[in-house]
Each structure stands twice: as structure tokens, then as C-alpha cells.
Symmetry: C2
Subunit: 155 residues, 2 copies
DNA sequence: TCTATTCCCGAGTAAATTACTAAGTAATAA
DNA sequence: TTATTACTTAGTAATTTACTCGGGAATAGA
């Protein structure tokens, strides 16, 4: 797993899309202005998102982007993996250099942990975040930032 | 939150330390050889880890590194934050540019998510991973990689 | 058909980060 | 005293980040 500022931009942009894409497509210019991300960089990010079918573009005037599928079917992990390119951490699975040494054990522990993080982020969808946003719409960013925790883990 | 390959190196190295540091300190040379990380890079990483008191160095022959505190008091988040430098994602909390626009709402949603990830990684300690390693010590990396999931979340 | 708007595409790039080499100094066990 | 280890600083090639620039392709509306 990999979680960089690039992934942050992508998640933020997708969140913007989920929030504003209810009636008609959202243009990259709008997202650029809303989120303070350069247009060209957004184009790069959306090229990757489009390749994974996470968004769908509509050309021409009045065009823009839609989510590629319902917000409750797009996980944070989907978004991050689309732009950040899931790096294969260790390639020593069952290789010969694991005998004796701690190396392979450590690596496989890392793999386990990495998978855990991935699964954690798979359980959180854009719809979850949007729902959470609905709650705090009233306090306009100034209220106490306290409420219930995100209900993200499948019980 | 930020999770890069640098953080991966740090976690891997700390894991190595937790596994091998039972009897006497572990040298960076050993970790370097075990994990395939260059010595100088380890020195950089351990400088950061030492600054956060996550490790304690002992100089001279027979020296090396100890964990700075018990393995069950060192979380993955501790390690990653030490080397990766928790970046303050958005600095628009309660600023004026949040009125009207979606911007601040999106940012605060990202903040919530980021905090969730952080808390998730705070719940996983080195001791958890070591315990997991004990389980699979017998199959030497060749057995089926299946068993119980990490017990990471406080019930 | 023309034009404005939008997505789409690729090349180039400054700045930062990554992962490393090199070349030391400081403490300490033998 | 010497070998071993931690510690420190400087430099650097490769990569990534986030961006600019300059186009092209589709399409709604005039």
C-alpha cells in the first residue's frame, strides 16, 4: 500500500465529484478551483481514474466528469490504487533466500500488515464520507469537530 | 498520514529489531544484511527513530540498537510518523475561505479519514506483528499463508 | 457550419524525495 | 591501543511530484 499526497489529491477530487455530481457532470475547472489543484495535474489524475473506470468523462460544453459507478461502490483503496500504483513490496514469497534468515519472515509480516491496511481502506467508500459530510453540513466547519466515528468496519 | 516506501523500510527494520533484539543489541550491519537496506540509509532512518526515542543506540564493540520501549508500546503509526513526518494536510480549519464553498467540507472529510487511518495504525504494535510471526515460524515461509487475521482493533 | 467548451493527450520541468555513497568523528569493550 | 560500533554531515543519481505548455478530439449551441 502506498499513501502519498498524490493519493490525497485523488481522494479529495473524487470526494468533490461525489458531493457535486448529483445534478450533471462536474468539470475539472470546478474541482481545480474548489480544491486548489492545478488543472493539468487533475487531468493526469483523472486519466488514471478513467483507466480504472472510476470516473466517466463527457466532452463538449456542459460536459465534465461523472463517477464511474455509485459512490457506495467506490472505495478509498480503489482511488489510491488507481493513481498511486500498488507497488509490490517484497518479491521473496517462498524464495530460496528465506531459509535460515529472518528476512522472509519480516517481509511476510509486512505483507500481512500491508494487506490489513488495504482491507481497511477497502471498507471505506465515498458514500460513507458523503454521508458523514451531510451530518456536519450545518456547522459550516466551525462547530466542534466531534461526533460519532465513521462506521467503516464491517461488524 | 503518509505511507511511503521509506516508512516501509522503517517498519521492516523495527520489526527486525523486535525479532532479534531479545538477547543483546542488534547492529545496523545485521539489519542491513537481513533486510537488504543500505547501511547509510538505515543510519538516516535510525537517526529519526532515535530522535523520537523509538530506539536506543549503544556504541562500541558489542553495541547496536535496542527498542526504545517495549514492543507492545510501539505502534506502526509511531514508526511511520517518525520517518515520514506527519504532513499537515489542510490548513483551512475554520478559515474564512470555507464559507460557501465545498472546499473546507471536503478537506475536513479528508482530515477525518486521515485520522481514521492514523488510529488504525496506532492500534497495531510491533508486539502484535511479532506474535503473528511466532505462529508461522514453523512453516518457514512455504506453508499456506493463511491463518487468523491480525487481532488489531480494540473490540 | 462555426465556435466555445470541455475532455483528452504528450512533452517538458523545477522542486522535492528517495536511497544511496563517502568520509569522517565519538564512544567503548577487549 | 585498537577494533567496533554508533553517530554526523555532505553530496548525488534516480525517481516522483505537481505543474506549465501546447496542442488535438468531441460536442452543444449559435
Amino acid at each position: 500500500m502506498r499513501l502519498s499526497t498524490k493519493g490525497r489529491y485523488a481522494v479529495t477530487a473524487m470526494l468533490d465529484l461525489a458531493l457535486n455530481g448529483q445534478d450533471g457532470p462536474v468539470t475539472l475547472s470546478e474541482i481545480s478551483e474548489n480544491q486548489g489543484i492545478s488543472l493539468s495535474y487533475l487531468e493526469q489524475l483523472f486519466a488514471a481514474l478513467r483507466a480504472r473506470k472510476l470516473v466517466r468523462g463527457v466532452r463538449g460544453p456542459g460536459g465534465g466528469y461523472y463517477l464511474g459507478r455509485p459512490a457506495d461502490e467506490i472505495s478509498i483503496a480503489d482511488i489510491i490504487c488507481a493513481v498511486d500504483e500498488w507497488v509490490e513490496f517484497t518479491r521473496c514469497r517462498g524464495k530460496e533466500d528465506c531459509r535460515g534468515g529472518q528476512r522472509c519472515l519480516t517481509h511476510s509480516l509486512w505483507d500481512d500488515l500491508s494487506r490489513q491496511i488495504y482491507e481497511f481502506l477497502t471498507d471505506i467508500t465515498l458514500a460513507d464520507l458523503v454521508a458523514r459530510g451531510k451530518d456536519k453540513e450545518s456547522d459550516h466547519c466551525h462547530g466542534k469537530k466531534e461526533s460519532a466515528t465513521l462506521k467503516t468496519r464491517a461488524a
